[in-house]
């Protein structure tokens, strides 16, 4: 109650508000007091809320929306929400809304929608009602339900605002990090291979017309560059040795595509190895079987450039 009163008084000229509050029994007494609103002397106040020309939109902005405004009207009429007299409230609502000029379209939309709802309810109440099918919702009851739900949310939002809040009521402690010189000394250094890889990438832009893997967790250009670097330094390596264990399955796939790309560009060749020449192949039959299923891993790749 407290907050909504302050909210309105902030929005309205104080004199205008005092005239509008329903508990002010005698509004004529006020007209005896010399009043000025926006430099204009006011001779007599209307029975209802006085709104200086053009100020209506500004005043309306203080409400969180048409439901908030309807709640205000219900309160102003001093009635129980569930017993809301729809006819007078609709009349008042429409009277206010008629003040809204076209300059405030963005504000008007929601209010006009509510106005149409109210008019629909009103006309339904005025018309002689035939047997209402039981499955049809009573629009007035629905509106009251919405108002109740909104009133709850409004009340609870004020309770939420009353909680002790970080950065309003309590504050985080801020400190600076240790001096930058000391911090950078602790930085793990960059690998010099980054430099060489960047040069390979500069020369070997991958051909993006071929199929690329959507999930770029292991960029193809990175793999092409580092495989080129390894092979150009060491001459020849097996496919296994070219893999980076940290890159997982997708790393194997991207590495394979990278090798294919390098073979296509004739930078890398495949050394012909047969079963006999394979190292460490003197194991059991089971080992042999596994090895035979693994030709790709054993392929030896050679740098040709």
């Amino acid at each position: 109650m407290q907050t909504s009163t302050t909210k309105q008084s902030a929005a309205l000229d104080k004199a205008a508000l005092s005239a509008s509050t329903p508990d002010k029994k005698d509004s004529t007494a006020i007209s005896q007091i010399p009043l000025r609103i926006y430099q204009t002397p006011v001779q007599h106040l209307p029975d209802d809320l006085y709104v200086p020309p053009g100020a209506f939109a500004i005043w309306l902005e203080q409400f969180a929306g048409p439901l908030d405004f309807l709640l205000y009207l219900v309160k102003k009429n001093n009635v129980d929400l569930t017993q809301m007299p729809i006819l007078p409230i609709t009349e008042q609502y429409l009277a206010y809304i008629s003040e809204l000029d076209t300059e405030h379209f963005e504000l008007a939309g929601d209010y006009l929608l509510m106005a149409s709802t109210l008019i629909a309810i009103k006309s339904e109440l005025l018309l002689p009602t035939p047997e209402v099918p039981s499955d049809e919702r009573d629009p007035k009851a629905e509106l009251i339900e919405r108002l109740e739900e909104y009133a709850q949310i409004k009340a609870v939002s004020q309770r939420l605002d009353n909680l002790v809040r970080l950065e309003r009521d309590v504050f985080l402690a801020m400190v600076s990090m240790p001096s930058t010189e000391v911090m950078s000394a602790e930085l793990p250094s960059y690998s010099p291979n980054l430099l060489i890889d960047s040069l390979f990438k500069m020369q070997l832009q991958p051909d993006y017309q071929m199929h690329t893997i959507k999930v770029d967790t292991v960029p193809l250009s990175d793999r092409i560059a580092s495989i080129s670097r390894q092979l150009s330094t060491d001459g020849a390596r097996s496919f296994y040795e070219l893999l980076d264990n940290n890159q997982g399955k997708i790393g194997v796939v991207v590495s394979f595509v990278a090798v294919l790309e390098l073979i296509k560009r004739q930078l890398v060749g495949v050394v012909n190895t047969d079963l006999e020449s394979r190292p460490n192949d003197a194991g059991t039959d089971a080992d042999k079987g596994a090895a035979e299923n693994d030709h790709i891993g054993q392929l030896t790749l050679q740098w040709l450039a």
Binding site: A64, G65, R146, Q152, K154, F171
Partner: protein, 188 residues
């Protein structure tokens, strides 16, 4: 003083003191609150050691102006409440006010989650301004997670642990109770 059987009391004492300092450093250096799990793992502490180190930290902080605070997403260091008035006086810009529209939107999400944008518009009777949603996303108070199985499959909005942190709650259960209709009638 200590029930550790492998180390002499003074050794354990020094160790716990060091660990309590390391916790303080990590809490200061971290951009988010740190959970017990993270602290235990990063500092290789047992549950017992962590508890004792946190107690020591609390004790040491008591002589200064900070306090150790446990939030929904972990521990954080904040300036003791006693000094809030001083901060509000000297740095009025740090005092952030939230608009009624933002508070209402946040309340709908918090109390009725998961909700879609149109759910919020229905409850509030107003078109939802993208500005308000952006503010809530920027603060990390809400996230989109999942879709409602209706026409258009609209995204569902939820509050986050940061929302709880900001409002000093450790669980959604601790949200202020929703007033019943009689209470609302009495208020108006």
């Amino acid at each position: 003083m200590t029930d550790n059987q492998h180390q002499s009391p003074t050794q354990t004492d020094d160790y716990l003191e060091t660990m309590s300092k390391h916790i303080e450093v990590l809490l200061h250096a971290s951009e988010t609150p740190l959970t017990e799990t993270v602290l235990k793992k990063q500092l290789s502490l047992t549950v017992e050691e962590l508890t004792q180190a946190l107690e020591r930290l609390q004790l040491r902080l008591a002589s200064g102006v900070l306090s150790l605070h446990k939030t929904a997403s972990g521990y954080r260091l904040q300036i003791s409440d006693d000094y809030s008035a001083l901060i509000q006086r000297v740095f009025p810009q740090r005092q952030e006010r939230l608009s009624q529209a933002l508070l209402e939107t946040l309340s709908v999400i918090a109390y009725k989650q998961p909700v879609t944008r149109s759910d919020i518009e229905h409850v509030r009777g107003v078109t939802l301004s993208s500005n308000i949603l952006r503010q809530l996303f920027d603060k990390g108070w809400i996230v989109e997670e999942g879709y409602k199985d209706t026409l258009g499959r609209p995204a569902l909005l939820h509050t986050t642990p940061q929302f709880l942190d900001a409002f000093g709650l450790t669980h959604l259960d601790e949200l202020p109770p929703m007033p019943d209709m009689e209470a609302i009638q009495a208020m108006s």
